[in-house]
């Protein structure tokens, strides 16, 4: 029984973290340009430092 006192909050916390992550991603526009994100990896950085 004492195990539950830890495990249930952990399970719920992980679930909430996932949900919070999804909400953040939506607000942050992570899903706005899915094809673009796949292409950006191919762009060469040309930082002139």
């Amino acid at each position: 029984m004492t195990g539950l006192a830890f495990l249930i909050p952990i399970a719920l916390g992980l679930g909430l973290a996932g949900l919070g992550g999804f909400f953040w991603a939506m607000r942050d526009g992570q899903f706005d340009d899915l094809d673009g994100a796949a292409n950006r990896i191919l762009i060469d950085d040309e930082d002139e430092e």
Partner: protein, 707 residues
């Protein structure tokens, strides 16, 4: 991104955001080039390319105008058009709200299910009670949040004295929740929070899918409206000029339209002569000369000289806004199956309520006790939820349109797929449909020394023949000669001088049967004839249509002599010199015979026929009006997407019918079981969800259908 950052000035200048549609973004290189080069401009703070939407967002100093940014993009080789500040954000918000609700419901469902599994596997006493309370703690806020779309829609329907699909869902969810709370509070053995959250999750997933599909159609309408000029220079009574936003224009105002500017409102020319590019509205690529008294429309471009235009209709009353509105209404739902599903679920909802009430009354009368009777009634409500029927159509259509889009065919709405599946006759226009529609010059008559001059002259003109000539010469590797005094006279041609010798590109003196242009150098002159090439895979596509049982014919507005050679090559029966009215009459005649014609055409003269035919497809090079009228648009040089569209549409309809049959069979089995009390609310929720999943999985088979 890589702009030299000056933080002090950055903080001082309030940035302005401008958005542009840039259809030419095709690869990672384009993203890199635009973001790198644009960010180097003075006053530009950030540049962000949205590859999926083919848009560029620029945050810049207010001192820089849109024109300068467009010119900068053009310098990089990208054609750009400004976009109004997201006029359709509201619809986007709707999809986002559904997505958020789906995520919350998914979270609740998984956690409640986790607790339920331990209850089923034998947790008893204090543990069970604890788990029930925990479930209630999770489920109540989740249901309150994720259930809102259903509750508000049900409340709306009830307030108007009607009932819809959301009413039984809402009642079922609320009653299951209340009963579970009662069970939890009294230490009962069963709670149905799991069933309620699961139901919400799967219903919301279906809704979100549907909203995404409609969002895509809306985006196309937004692209259409973005062609309209966003502001206009208004001549004040004292003669000064003031910039006015397109929304604030009113009939009676006097606009000064500069050369190269897009009109922001419909109007009548008061002063000035110029030429107007109507391609956006009519597909006619030859500029139309205008003078005082001519009517001009929003979205068209003034090509030559400044014009003074008296506004007759502005903002929402312009011709282009009217087209967008018609398109939006058409997209709402012409789908017969969607209507059937809607009507079925409208009849269904009262039937479901009656059935559940009867179940409750019947079991009470049989002496089962109010608790047992209520559980059975809830199970009946949930299990008969018509979501499988509601999903049967949109799920299949979303998958099919997505698969076709990857093959270069854009289907406007689900109803179009239904009508495409039913066609049995195909009528083709000739120019631009069976042929590529781009005039290809025959350069054999043009001596080599004349080619650089012809290219230099052609590059100065927007006339379609000039463009065709320039493209063909550039392909050959010709380098343009350097000319002086180049001038274009609209309707006549281009003239200039090379080392003092007058040169010109003009219309041939005699009107000939074929299209041609004449290159003149001093006293010498050569006529360059143009021809229109047949699409490379036209024969295969027509054979594929034949294999699907469609009879193909040519119905062209061109003279029969021009149509005959192509008809002979492709082995088709052809009619020439057909007026738009005749095309309509022919369609009526076919409809009277009980046939369902598919019209494939591109020109303005095909517009009425495209709208009247049972189904219609237009090539991407067609006039915008024709594209709006058509059910589907295909891009590229291949004609095969036409055959592919019909084949995929038929497969989609087969899947839709399977989905319907499955959903009905499911209800025929499940409802009697629920009525006799063999089904708990949880099993009902699982059964309902599985039935929805089966429908979605069956629809996903269409993803491979377009191959």
């Amino acid at each position: 991104m890589n702009a030299p950052l000056d933080h002090a000035s950055l903080a001082a200048a309030p940035a302005v955001d401008s958005r542009f549609t840039v259809p030419g973004i095709k690869c990672a290189g384009c993203i890199g080039k635009i973001e790198r080069e644009m960010a180097r401009l003075d006053g530009v703070q950030t540049v962000r390319v949205n590859f999926s939407a083919k848009r560029v967002a620029v945050s810049h100093d207010p001192a820089i105008g849109d024109e300068a940014l467009i010119a900068a993009l053009a310098g990089l080789g990208f054609e750009a058009q400004p976009v109004a500040a997201n006029p359709l954000a509201r619809d986007d918000e709707e999809t986002r709200r559904l997505m958020r609700a789906t995520a919350v419901a998914g979270f609740g469902m998984m956690n409640v299910m986790l607790l339920s599994v331990s209850v089923w596997s034998g947790a008893a006493g204090a543990t069970r009670e604890l788990f029930h309370w925990l479930s209630a703690l999770i489920a109540l806020p989740v249901i309150a949040y994720a259930g809102r779309p259903f509750f508000s829609s049900a409340a709306m329907a009830l307030r108007h004295g009607r009932t819809n699909m959301d009413v039984p869902i809402s009642i079922g969810v609320v009653m299951a929740t209340c009963l579970s709370l009662y069970e939890t509070a009294t230490g009962g053995s069963q709670a149905y929070f799991d069933g309620a959250t699961m139901l919400l999750f799967f219903l919301l997933a279906g809704r979100a899918l549907d909203a995404m599909m409609r969002g895509r159609t809306r985006a196309e309408i937004g692209a259409l409206l973005s062609r309209m000029g966003r502001s206009a220079g208004i001549v004040q009574p004292d003669g000064t000029l003031r910039r006015v936003e397109a929304e604030a224009l009113e009939p009676g105002m006097l606009m000064l339209v500069a050369a190269g500017e897009a009109l922001a409102a419909d109007g009548v020319v008061e002063d000035g002569t110029s030429a107007i590019d109507n391609a956006m509205l009519t597909g006619e690529s030859v500029p139309q000369p205008v003078a005082a008294g001519s009517t001009v429309h929003a979205g068209t471009v003034n090509l030559a000289q400044p014009l003074k235009v008296r506004v007759t209709a502005a903002a929402q009353d312009t011709a282009i806004a009217e087209i967008a509105r018609l398109m939006d209404e058409a997209g709402q739902s012409r789908s017969r199956y969607v209507r059937i599903a809607d009507r079925a679920s409208r009849l269904y909802a009262p039937a479901v309520h009656t059935l559940a009430a009867l179940a409750f009354a019947g079991w009470m009368w049989a002496g089962a006790g109010w608790h047992q009777s209520l559980i059975i009634a809830i199970a009946v409500l949930i299990i008969t939820c018509p979501c499988a029927i509601g999903l049967a159509v949109p799920a299949a259509q979303v998958v099919a349109t997505g698969a076709l889009m990857k093959r270069g065919l854009l289907v406007k709405d689900g109803g179009a797929l239904e009508r495409l599946a039913e066609v049995d006759t195909a009528l083709f226009d000739k120019t631009g449909t069976l042929t590529l529609g781009e005039p290809q010059p025959d350069l054999s008559a043009l001596p080599e020394r004349a080619q650089p001059i012809a290219l230099a002259l052609a590059q100065h003109s927007r006339h379609p023949l000039s463009r065709g000539l320039a493209a063909a010469l550039l392909r050959q590797g010709t380098v343009p000669a350097s000319l002086a005094d180049v001038e274009e006279q609209v309707g006549h041609g281009v003239s200039g001088t090379e080392n003092g010798v007058p040169v010109a590109l003009v219309r041939p003196p005699v009107a000939e049967a074929t299209q041609a242009t004449r290159v003149q150098i001093g006293k010498d002159g050569w006529t360059v004839p143009f021809a229109d090439a047949v699409r490379p895979d036209a024969a295969q596509a027509l054979a594929a249509l034949g294999a699907l049982g469609l009879q193909s014919r040519i119905l062209s507005g061109d003279r029969i002599e021009a149509v005959a050679p192509i008809a002979r090559d492709l082995g088709l029966f052809a009619q020439g010199s057909v007026s738009p009215q005749d095309k309509l009459a022919e369609l009526d005649r076919l409809a009277a015979q009980g046939r369902r014609p598919l019209m494939v055409g591109d020109g303005l003269n095909d517009g009425p026929a495209l709208a009247a035919a049972h189904a219609s497809i237009a090539p991407g090079t067609a006039s915008d009006i024709s594209q709006q009228a058509a059910d589907a648009v295909f891009v590229g040089a291949s004609l095969m997407p036409v055959a592919l569209a019909v084949r995929t549409a038929r497969r989609t309809m087969r899947i839709v019918r399977q989905n319907f049959a499955f959903a009905i069979a499911y209800n025929l089995v499940a409802v009697p079981l629920a009525l006799v009390g063999r089904v708990t609310p949880l099993i009902a929720a699982i059964a309902m969800s599985v039935s929805s999943l089966v429908v979605i999985a069956n629809s996903l088979r269409l993803a491979r259908a377009a191959r």
